[in-house]
């Protein structure tokens, strides 16, 4: 018989290994899933993970896309990971992302057609403030009344999505758009366009922000006192309180940071790759970022790698749709599966499997 025994300390080795094991397990299980859909499993996996990077025909297009799709995922996941460390469950990042995009775009559309250097910084600020305020709703309710932040932040996603469709057919609609829903295209408005910084690099300001967020989060969590307090509040809430950590402050900080980052991500998206506020603007980055945060083991550098990997599955998934006709939704099932295996792998980090000695008579008595 085998039994589980709790490790005195979480295993570092397994902490590094489990994401890779989970990825391999997902490829196998995903392959089986694709096979059941009647698609060639090996081809599907290769199209998702290999072709976007190395296929001669597609790589030139898809390699730069990697950063474009990874940037919002990383930016949102960094914010979420800080909260998850503290046991503050903001799962409404999708809503904060949408509100950030609406606020950022609103600033640009209000200033249109003025060309000025301050418009883009103002949009970034508006996006961050929008996401921050949207996240402060669950934060304040949690602090003042103890309302569950999971349910409130999630309900606010649906509210934000309704606001999005209201805005794209109402206040923010393009007045020269012949009545079609959707705002003006910000890509055609130089002061507001989140364009490539270097020609052909596909690095836009969102990518820069994502990398900066990784570094800042690393400094915050590893070098700064507040980071220590956040981790302490999550690992041992009672000890944290004795050490003088105010749990209300932690809740507000965690939700505030994640909301502001998600809002910024939405703003960079609407001013860049998406270009306009439209009914179908929300693409689920806020939810996928939850997987990214866990895949990166809530560590900033890990999230950087995880964001790139998850972005690869998005691009590979699109390729697989195009080449072998894999349904678009297969990729989100695949991503959900990855999270299952990651969570299961956590067992090896915290527990070890021991062979239980056969019980002797003496013991049994």
């Amino acid at each position: 018989m085998y039994k589980l025994e709790k490790r005195p300390n979480p295993s570092n080795l397994w902490a590094y290994l489990t994401p890779f094991l989970a990825l391999i397990a997902t490829m196998i299980a995903g392959g089986i899933m694709f096979w059941m859909l009647g698609k060639p499993p090996v081809d599907a996996i290769r199209t998702i993970f290999w072709d976007p990077l190395f296929n001669e025909q597609f790589a030139a297009y898809s390699r730069p896309q990697l950063l474009v799709k990874a940037a919002p995922l990383i930016l949102i996941a960094i914010g979420l990971s800080i909260g998850f460390k503290a046991g503050v469950w903001n799962i409404g990042a999708e809503g904060q992302y949408v509100i950030g995009a609406l606020c950022g775009a609103a600033v640009a559309l209000a200033a249109y057609p003025l060309e000025a250097w301050w418009i883009f910084p103002a949009m970034v600020t508006a996006g961050a403030v929008g996401g921050f305020i949207w996240a402060m709703i669950p934060a304040i309710l949690k602090i003042k009344l103890g309302t569950n932040e999971i349910l409130v932040s999630l309900m606010l996603v649906y509210v934000a999505l309704e606001l999005l469709s209201s805005m794209s057919v109402g206040v923010l609609r393009n007045p020269d758009g012949n009545g079609f829903p959707g705002s003006r295209n910000l890509q055609q408005y130089a002061s507001a366009h989140n364009a490539e910084i270097w020609q052909g690099s596909s690095v836009h300001w969102g990518v820069v922000a994502a990398f900066s967020a990784v570094v800042l989060a690393y400094v915050l969590m590893s070098k700064h006192r507040l980071g220590f307090q956040i981790k302490l509040a999550g690992a041992a809430p009672k000890a944290a309180r004795f050490a003088g950590v105010n749990p209300h402050v932690i809740t507000a900080v965690c939700l505030g940071i994640s909301g502001a980052l998600a809002g910024m991500a939405g703003m960079f998206e609407v001013a860049g790759p998406a270009g306009q506020v439209s009914i179908d603007f929300a693409s689920g980055y806020g939810f996928t970022a939850i997987i990214v945060a866990f895949l990166g083991r809530l560590n900033p550098w890990g999230i950087l790698a995880a964001g790139l990997l998850m972005s690869l599955t998005y691009i590979g998934g699109e390729l697989a749709q195009f080449i072998i006709g894999l349904p678009a939704s297969a990729i989100s099932a695949f991503q959900g599966m990855l999270l299952f295996f990651l969570l299961a792998g956590e067992l090896l980090v915290n527990y070890r499997i021991r062979r239980a000695a056969p019980r002797t008579v003496k013991e049994a008595v």
Binding site: L4, K6, L37, F84, W89, I91, L141, L145, G146, T147, N148, I150, L151, V152, L154, M155, L156, Y158, V159, E162, L163, S165, S166, G170, F287, T288, I290, I291, F294, P327, A328, S329, A330, I331, S332, A333, F334, Q335, G336, M337, L339, F340, L343, A344, E346, L347, N350, Y351
Partner: protein, 310 residues
């Protein structure tokens, strides 16, 4: 706008239909939470139930078998949650989220060739255009709606009067004591989780077979999360789930009727009202708890993993 466009008997009857998916999902989750497990995957189990129920009903031509398929689908997904949280000791919040994310993706994948099909109709006790108000409200429904009303009553009776109910509650209030008494905490929770999954699956199937009735991607639109809020609203009391579900169903139907009757409030703001009202209800309840007007009844072990050290 034209209030006379809203017929009271039709209104009440459709509220009952709208409330049933919420009621089924919420009563399942209540049992799960009573044993100390928080499964945030209700939305995922519901939508898997919706698609499995829909496919079974379309392929077999029998809506009753559709409900069986929906319940099995929801239960199958909940087994994943049960194995992960009970044997792999994963934390319940992210595992539940994973369930929802996976369920939304998998259901869209499985159901893509079923979009736009009309499912076989569930027979009603009495139907027709010439029913009077009493017949329409009390008798004009399908069997599942009555079963949905019976389940909370049965759950209430089991939790309150039976030995099984006592064991379930013991596990949820103090798993160490229950373990010391010799109860298999993991397996009791496993069973409760699967029951919750089956109920959520039934709720989903009701959505795709009766309430809408059609299959579309992401058709649960947060119903699973509202069911989670309903458990809090009902303070973990089974009979209050019925009341809560009918109130939420009433709001959902009212806003649809207002849209149809040409209200001056924009459609988007009406559509967001169920979510906004859910938030208000949660806020109101936590305010009541905070100022000691009513007590929170959450099971003591809610959300905590159990690992027997010997």
């Amino acid at each position: 706008m034209d209030w006379s466009a809203i017929n009271p008997a039709f209104y009440v009857a459709s509220v009952m239909v709208a409330a049933t998916p919420l009621l089924l999902a919420a009563i399942g989750e209540l049992v799960v939470e009573k044993t100390g497990v928080l499964n945030l995957g209700v939305e995922g189990m519901m939508i898997i139930g919706a698609v499995c129920g829909f496919i079974t009903a379309v392929e077999t031509g029998s809506p009753s078998l559709g409900f069986v398929g929906g319940a099995l689908g929801g239960a199958a997904l909940s087994v994943v949650f049960a194995v992960l949280t009970q044997f792999f000791l994963t934390s319940q919040v992210p595992t539940g989220l994973a369930l929802t994310l996976f369920g939304l993706g998998a259901s869209a994948m499985v159901g893509q060739s079923y979009v736009g099909i009309v499912p076989p109709k569930m027979p009603q006790l009495m139907s027709g255009a010439d029913l009077n108000a009493f017949e329409r409200i009390v008798l004009g429904h399908d069997a599942m709606l009555y079963i949905g009303l019976a389940i909370p009553v049965a759950v209430w009776a089991v939790l309150r009067f039976s030995r099984l109910g006592l064991i379930l509650r013991a596990v949820g209030e103090d798993h160490n004591a229950a373990h010391a008494l010799g109860y298999k905490v993991m397996w009791i929770r496993f069973g409760a989780i699967v029951f919750g999954g089956a109920c959520a699956g039934l709720g989903g199937a009701y959505l795709s077979l009766v309430r809408v009735p059609q299959w579309t991607e992401g058709m649960t639109t947060g119903a699973g999360w509202i069911a989670l809020a309903l458990v809090v609203f009902a303070s973990w009391r089974p009979l209050l789930i019925i009341l809560g579900a009918y109130i939420f169903g009433g709001i959902a139907i009212l806003q649809l009727n207002l849209q149809a009757a040409g209200s001056t409030i924009p459609v988007e703001y009406l559509s967001m009202s169920p979510y906004v009202i859910t938030i208000f209800v949660l806020v109101l309840l936590s305010a009541l708890h905070k100022y000691g007007i009513s007590r929170a009844q959450a099971p003591a072990m809610l959300g905590r993993s159990f690992h027997a050290s010997n």
